[in-house]
Each structure stands twice: as structure tokens, then as C-alpha cells.
């Protein structure tokens, strides 16, 4: 009887500790991980994404149209990042007559605009116009004029280097940052643009400059055209008594700032410009009013070349600085009125480069009409949309792939529901964006790619994705073993006796006389 009690006691120990306790402990210490679509993430092929776009060739006769279309198709055949859907049309007689008789290219543009819809995104028209001085002419709308069939090679070069720029698109899609990507700001939903007027000697000179109106009008009109891409917040401020030693050397005609001092000017500006107030990246545009004793200050020596109309420089991913040099007469009167048009024009040119509109190098036989307004050209907007769509898509895929790899490698990171939801949203948006890009639906493609990018970033940068600190595996066992081993030891040893008793055999050998 006593033996039965003992055996039941040890059986209950075994039951609680091993049968109930062990699975309970395993279940309660496992890390909560939501199931992720690993197979879909591994199936991403970033290098195979491409954008379709529509191109219409309008010529006076059939033969020209065919030849131009054929040349363009041949040139863009190997490009795997952009696929052109080329349609050929003959220009209707009335329009042809208008194009031949009108003297000014702008009027010709209006005539074409009246006949065809050039406001539609992701389209481009290559139109023949006999009375052209050059082979090809490109303006601010989505139209390029060409003279005749001999201009084919120039048309192809213009499309490659100016309008579509497949090299820049490939750079946006790849993992390595190319030169254009190193200059422009990283993709994001919004930016702050801060115009700082830096006035080191307010006691000596009065500056007449309405910074708020200047940034609202000039930069505002520019960013209004880019609302589909990013959200811009415009701010302006005055920074007084911000002195800086340029280590300027005297040259005939003025002074030249030391080249090594210019990066340090940016550091000095950063100290006071207070651009860390928000979590959005900030584009700094600084107008530095050069003190009278240093004016006119140049950035480098211009011995033989003609100096540019304004001294300015920019720094990639930071912003730009323009020097305002007061003339000796203005220094006499102690009132300086900076030329607003020129200065804001310089800022705009820097802003364009910082946002991704690249410089267009001159092509033989082609003329790119100079931009005379604040707003960007229509086809530049399309190029930006394509660029950002591809870059955001590629970045989202890279983030998801590395997140999946990371979560696979480090097994004690908790994956909660929000992270799972973000990842699923990102995967779905990537699929939709890819579909829209292939269908040449650029605005929708950009919208979905931005959603995918933001969801992937949210998932990767989720604060809860911290590996469980102070709980690595070897330390886990170092805690459990001294805690549980002394208890488990007699329990395990008594298992043998327990089994024997259950089978009905006597536990102790009976003493025989």
C-alpha cells in the first residue's frame, strides 16, 4: 500500500513535469512569428522591371514615317528597361499646311496641341516640320519636331539622351548608386525646401529681399507641377551674423574663395539652419550676402572663360548656395537689392538637379529650347515619374528580400501582425505597380510603387523588430539547466522504477531466506 502511494506520487511528478510542463514551457517561450510570403519575395526579379511608353510618329508621307519608326525601334530594341509602343500616322493636310507656314516653333506646338492630346502622361510625339533650321527641335511640351528623313539618327540620339534616358533608368533600378543617383535626393513621400538668407553684416548693409514671396512664387510654381511625385513644404528664414572665413585670395577684378573652404561653409550653415526640425529630408537653398569688403567674390578663377552670371554651387543630397555680391554703388548707399529673377533661376536649376532632372548635354544637329519659366518641361515630369517609379520599386523589392533573409537568419526576432500586414501590402503593391508599368499607366504605377516603397520601409524599420536582447540560446540553456536539472534528476531516475511497477513486477526483490 505504501509502495502504491509512493509510486502514484512519483507518477504525478512525472505527469506534471514532463507531460504537462515540458510542452507548456516550449509553447510559452517560442517567439511569435507571423507567416510571411517568402516564396513571393524570393520570386522578385528586380532587373527585369520595365516601363512601357507610347510614342507617335507623325510625318508628311508614309515612307518617312516608316523609316523613322523603324530606326527608333531598332535603337530601343536592346533596351530592357523601357519598351516603346510606336504608332505611325500621316499628318492631316490642314495641320501640315499650318506647320509648313508658321514661322515660330511655339505656334507650331500650339497647332499640334490642338490636333492631338499632348497633355496625356507617358506619351511623346515626333512630328515632321519642314521649315526647321536644325535636324531636331525639342521644346517644353511632349513634342519633338524633325525636318526630314535624314534626321533619323539625330532623332534617335535625342530620344535616348534627352527624353527617355535609359541609362539613368537602369541606374535607378540597380543596387549600385550611379553618378545621377548620388546627386539626387533619395525617394520619399515629401521634402522640405528651406530658403535661408544669410546676412553676416546686417549693421553695414540693408538687404531688400522678400524671401517668403520669392520662395512661394518661384519655387512654389515649380513644385506645383510635381504634386504627383512628392509633397513639398516651403519655408524661408533669415540667418543674421553668420560669419565665415573664406580665405579669399585677391585676383584682378575681385576675390576668389578658397576651394577647400566651401564644404566647411555648408557645415557652418548647418549649425544655424535648424533643418532637423522634421523627419522629412530638407533641401537647403542658401543665399549668402557677401560682405562689402569681400565683394565681388568668385568661386574659382576665370582667366580666359567668361564667368557665369551668378556665383553658385551645390552639394549632392544637401542643397545649394548662391552668392549675392553687392555692387560698389550699393555698398555706398548701404542698400542691396539682389536680382530676384537671377537668384531664383539659379536656385531652380540646382533644385531640378537635386530632384532628379539631369543635365542634357548638347547633341549635334538638335536644339533643346532653353527653359524660360519656373515649371519643368512636360516630358521631364514624365521622366521623373518613370525614374522614381522604378527606383521605389527596386528599393521595395531589395528591402523585402533582405528582410526575409534577415528574419530567416536571426531566429529570435518577433514578427508581429503589423509587420506581417506591411509586408503583405508591399508585396501586393509591387505586383500592381509592375502590371501598371507594363501597361504604360504611369501615374498609377508611380502611386503603387510609392505605396510599396513606404510599406517596405515601414516593415523593415519597425521598432518592434529587435532581436530579443539578453536572451541568446546559449544563455537560455545556462539559466534553465541549474534551475531544472536538480528537480528533474530524481524524477527521471524514478521513471525506471515506475515503469516496472506499472507492468506489475515487484519493485524490490523479495528477501528470500
Amino acid at each position: 500500500m505504501q509502495e502504491a502511494n509512493r509510486m502514484w506520487a512519483s507518477a504525478s511528478f512525472v505527469g506534471v513535469l514532463i507531460i504537462i510542463g515540458l510542452p507548456l514551457w516550449w509553447k510559452t517561450t517560442e517567439v511569435y512569428r507571423v507567416a510571411l510570403p517568402y516564396d513571393k519575395i524570393n520570386a522578385f526579379e528586380t532587373d527585369s522591371h520595365y516601363i512601357s511608353t507610347e510614342l507617335t510618329v507623325l510625318a508628311n508621307d508614309d515612307e518617312t514615317a516608316q523609316e523613322v519608326a523603324r530606326q527608333i525601334e531598332k535603337a530601343f530594341q536592346e533596351s530592357d528597361v523601357i519598351k516603346l509602343k510606336i504608332t505611325k500616322k500621316i499628318i492631316p493636310n490642314k495641320l501640315q499646311h499650318l506647320l509648313d507656314s508658321v514661322a515660330d516653333e511655339q505656334e507650331a506646338l500650339e497647332d499640334v496641341g490642338a490636333a492631338f492630346n499632348i497633355k496625356k502622361h507617358n506619351t511623346f510625339y515626333v512630328v515632321q516640320r519642314k521649315p526647321l533650321y536644325q535636324d531636331v527641335w525639342v521644346g517644353t511640351e511632349r513634342v519633338a519636331f524633325f525636318r526630314d528623313i535624314k534626321a533619323c539618327s539625330t532623332i534617335v540620339k535625342v530620344l535616348e539622351k534627352w527624353i527617355y534616358q535609359p541609362s539613368v533608368l537602369i541606374g535607378a533600378r540597380s543596387e549600385i548608386a550611379d553618378a545621377a543617383r548620388q546627386v539626387r535626393f533619395p525617394s520619399g513621400p515629401g521634402y522640405h525646401v528651406v530658403l535661408s538668407v544669410v546676412h553676416p553684416r546686417p549693421q553695414e548693409l540693408k538687404v531688400n529681399f522678400n524671401a517668403r514671396d520669392a520662395i512661394e512664387d518661384y519655387i512654389g510654381s515649380f513644385v506645383d507641377e510635381l504634386t504627383e511625385l512628392h509633397n513639398f513644404t516651403l519655408k524661408s528664414q533669415w540667418l543674421h551674423l553668420l560669419d565665415f572665413d573664406f580665405e579669399a585670395t585677391e585676383v584682378p577684378g575681385g576675390r576668389v574663395a578658397g576651394a577647400e573652404r566651401l564644404p566647411l561653409l555648408l557645415t557652418r550653415l548647418e549649425e544655424r539652419a535648424a533643418t532637423h526640425v522634421s523627419e522629412r529630408p530638407t533641401l537647403n537653398l542658401a543665399l549668402y550676402v557677401v560682405p562689402c569688403r569681400l565683394a565681388p567674390l568668385a568661386l574659382q578663377r576665370y582667366d580666359k572663360e567668361i564667368p557665369p552670371p551668378v556665383q553658385a554651387f551645390m552639394s549632392p543630397k544637401w542643397g545649394g548656395v548662391v552668392f549675392g555680391n553687392p555692387t560698389p554703388e550699393e555698398c555706398e548707399k548701404q542698400v542691396y537689392t539682389p536680382p530676384v529673377n537671377l537668384i531664383m533661376g539659379t536656385f531652380l536649376s540646382q533644385l531640378r538637379k537635386l530632384l532628379g532632372i539631369t543635365d542634357k548635354e548638347a547633341q549635334a544637329g538638335a536644339r533643346l529650347e532653353a527653359l524660360r519659366r519656373a515649371a519643368p518641361r512636360a516630358w521631364e515630369r514624365d521622366a521623373l515619374l518613370r525614374l522614381r517609379a522604378l527606383q521605389q520599386l527596386a528599393s521595395a523589392e531589395t528591402s523585402l528580400r533582405s528582410l526575409a533573409k534577415l528574419l530567416g537568419e536571426i531566429s529570435n526576432i518577433v514578427i508581429n501582425d503589423e509587420v506581417g500586414a506591411s509586408i503583405n501590402l508591399a508585396v501586393e503593391s509591387i505586383h500592381r505597380a509592375t502590371e501598371h508599368m507594363e501597361k504604360a499607366d504611369l501615374l498609377e504605377a508611380h502611386r503603387y510603387s510609392q505605396r510599396a516603397f513606404l510599406a517596405a520601409e515601414t516593415a523593415f524599420m519597425e521598432p518592434s523588430l529587435l532581436a530579443l536582447l539578453y536572451f541568446p540560446d546559449d544563455q537560455k540553456y545556462a539559466i534553465y539547466i541549474p534551475l531544472f536539472l536538480p528537480i528533474m534528476f530524481p524524477v527521471v531516475l524514478s521513471l525506471k522504477n515506475l515503469l516496472l511497477w506499472f507492468r506489475g513486477k515487484p519493485v524490490h526483490k523479495e528477501k528470500t531466506d
Binding site: E216, P263, F313, S315, E462, P463, L466, A467
Partner: protein
């Protein structure tokens, strides 16, 4: 016969000289980083650990002098020595008994201070998983072209670094954090310096590429402090950092010194502990990497030559503001006793 030997040695030396002269343009291997960041961490608190704060502030001053802007330096200091009531020289921190340079200065920008310096915050800073309301100055906003200098100092042991006298970061966690940075392409190259006891154990577990690591002592050795300042009453600076600073004093922004000179900076006779180096994860040859790749700052300047000539002055349409009729604000006193809220019982 001897003349023949002399002639032979002479030609041999001349050939060596010429081949050296031809080699000079190849001296530095090109780096492709576009910006420089520094993460400087002091992990120990209490007055007797004054030297750790002096260590990290001295490196901060050197790095600032060589050009890295404050917006790209993350400085984490666990305890306030300058305003410590036991400091006989208030508002100053010195790294030398001669007390010539006040490394605290009046323009120091400490990003994480006091109890904010914890293992969790450090790992969050490195991996970027900071809470969403963290200001930009407390985030490590690096990208794929950033070279980062990471400097850790404090008390350490075999496989761990002590934070705030109450918690530790293990070498495995640090290695995992750096791997997460690599996966997100948050750095181009990292130079990792650690000045604690048994410091080399902290970099043994690294497995991400492009990291060059150096430590002030090997496993089983202690890093020692340099000298005491009897006026302040504590040890002022550690040996390894003292000799590093001596080296950095001769480095200016156009310096041609290489990383391998930095890695050899403290021989055992001076440091009394052996300096450890880990270079197998670093692709370039340290003897061809200029020291300004990590200690200086690259900031590209592009001169603008093509301003836009705006003909028509733009005018942005202001959004229509709703006409708000100004209601005159009526002000009155609240009743002294809120009897109107009390239900009167009959």
C-alpha cells in the same frame, strides 16, 4: 673586384629607387564613398570613469577638426562629467594632466546623454529601428555611400561590453546589428575602434563585409589607463586613446597618412597591451587607404553654371482662404464653487 661590387650595389639601389618612383601614383586605392559619419560611444558612468568620457570627447574633437560636421556625428555619453559636483574644474573635461585643451568646449553636441545610452538605443541607432518620433539628429541617416567610424570605450570583458554598469551588449548582438546594416546597405565601409579590456573579443564575431576593426587589447589582456591628474583626482585618459590622439594631432585634412600607420599606432612597449586588428573582412589594402577616408569628410561641390533665365515672373495662386468672421472672445470668471454641478437634494 671590390669596385665591381660597389658598382653592382649602386645600380641595384638606383633600380629600386626608380621602381619606387614609378609606383607613387598608385599609392592610394580609390574609395567610392560619398559621405562620412562617426558614431562615438562612451558606455560607462560614475566619476571614476572620467577617462572614458575624456577618451570619446577627444576623438570627437579630432573628427570634427578633420571636417565631419556635427549633423553626421552621433555622440553618446553616459554620464555628465563636466557638471559633476565632484569636478574641481566645472564645465570642463581635460584629457591631459597639463589641462591645456578643454575637450568639452562650448559647442559640443551630445546626441544621447545619460541614461539614454543603453544597449537597446545603441542597437536601434545602428539598425535604424528607432521609434517614429525620434528627431533627425538622433538617427543614423547613412546610405550606401557612407563610411562610418565607430568608436566604443568603457569597461568590457570576453565577449561583452558593459553599458551603464547594469547591462551588457554581447559580441554576437553587435555582429548581428552590423549585418542588419549591411543588408539594408546602410554603409559603404566601417572602421571599428574599441578601447576596453579584452576588446578584441568584440570584433571576433563580425561576419559582414567591408569592416576594418581594431582593438586596444587582445582577449585575456587588460587595457590600461595612461596617467592620473592629481588636481582632478582621477585617471584622465587611456593609453591606447592617448597614442591615437598623438597620431591624429599630426593628421590634417590633406594628410597622406594611411590606415596601416594608424593600425600600428600603439606598440606593446607603449600600450602594455597588444593592439588587435581584424582585416579579413576589409576588401582594400589598409596600407593604400588614406586616413581621411574615415576620419575626414568628403563633401562634393558642384559649381552651377546654368541658371534658368526666367522670362515671365511666376505667381503662385494662393489657395482660397475661407473668410473667417472674427468672433469677439468673451471672457468671464468661472464660479468659485461649482455649485451648478452639484445636484441639490431636496
Amino acid at each position: 673586384m671590390s669596385l665591381y661590387y660597389v658598382y653592382f650595389i649602386f645600380t641595384f639601389l638606383v633600380t629600386i629607387k626608380i621602381s619606387n618612383a614609378i609606383e607613387i601614383p598608385e599609392k592610394f586605392q580609390k574609395s567610392n564613398h560619398t559621405n562620412n559619419w562617426a558614431v562615438l560611444v562612451d558606455t560607462s558612468r560614475f566619476w571614476f570613469n572620467y577617462r572614458h568620457v575624456a577618451n570619446v570627447l577627444s576623438i570627437y574633437r579630432s573628427v570634427k577638426r578633420l571636417g565631419i560636421p556635427d549633423s553626421q556625428i552621433i555622440l553618446m555619453i553616459s554620464d555628465d562629467m563636466a557638471c559633476n559636483p565632484r569636478n574641481p574644474r566645472p564645465a570642463t573635461i581635460f584629457n591631459n594632466a597639463h589641462e591645456q585643451i578643454n575637450v568639452y568646449g562650448d559647442d559640443v553636441e551630445v546626441d544621447y546623454r545619460g541614461y539614454e545610452v543603453s544597449v537597446e538605443n545603441f542597437v536601434r541607432l545602428l539598425t535604424g529601428r528607432v521609434p517614429p518620433d525620434t528627431p533627425r539628429s538622433k538617427r543614423l541617416l547613412t546610405d550606401e555611400g557612407s563610411n562610418i567610424l565607430i568608436y566604443l570605450t568603457g569597461h568590457g570583458g570576453d565577449g561583452f561590453l558593459k553599458f551603464q554598469d547594469s547591462e551588457e551588449i554581447t559580441s554576437q548582438e553587435l555582429a548581428d546589428a552590423l549585418e542588419q546594416m549591411w543588408q539594408k546597405r546602410r554603409y559603404n565601409e566601417i572602421f571599428f575602434i574599441i578601447d576596453t579590456c579584452q576588446a578584441s573579443s568584440m570584433y571576433e564575431k563580425f561576419y559582414s563585409p567591408n569592416i576594418l576593426a581594431t582593438a586596444s587589447s587582445l582577449v585575456g589582456e587588460d587595457s590600461l589607463s595612461h596617467h592620473v591628474d592629481s588636481a582632478i583626482g582621477v585617471y584622465i585618459i587611456d593609453r591606447y586613446t592617448y597614442y591615437v590622439l598623438e597620431f591624429l594631432e599630426n593628421v590634417h585634412p590633406n594628410s597622406k597618412k594611411t590606415m596601416s600607420e594608424f593600425l600600428a599606432v600603439c606598440p606593446k612597449s607603449a600600450c602594455l597591451s597588444t593592439v588587435g586588428v581584424r582585416r579579413d573582412l576589409f576588401k582594400r589594402d589598409p596600407s593604400k587607404v588614406p586616413i581621411t577616408d574615415f576620419f575626414g569628410s568628403v563633401r562634393q561641390i558642384i559649381i552651377t553654371t546654368d541658371p534658368i533665365d526666367i522670362q515671365e515672373i511666376p505667381k503662385r495662386k494662393k489657395p482660397m482662404s475661407i473668410n473667417k468672421t472674427k468672433v469677439p472672445e468673451k471672457r468671464e470668471y468661472l464660479p468659485q464653487f461649482p455649485m451648478h454641478l452639484v445636484k441639490t437634494t431636496v
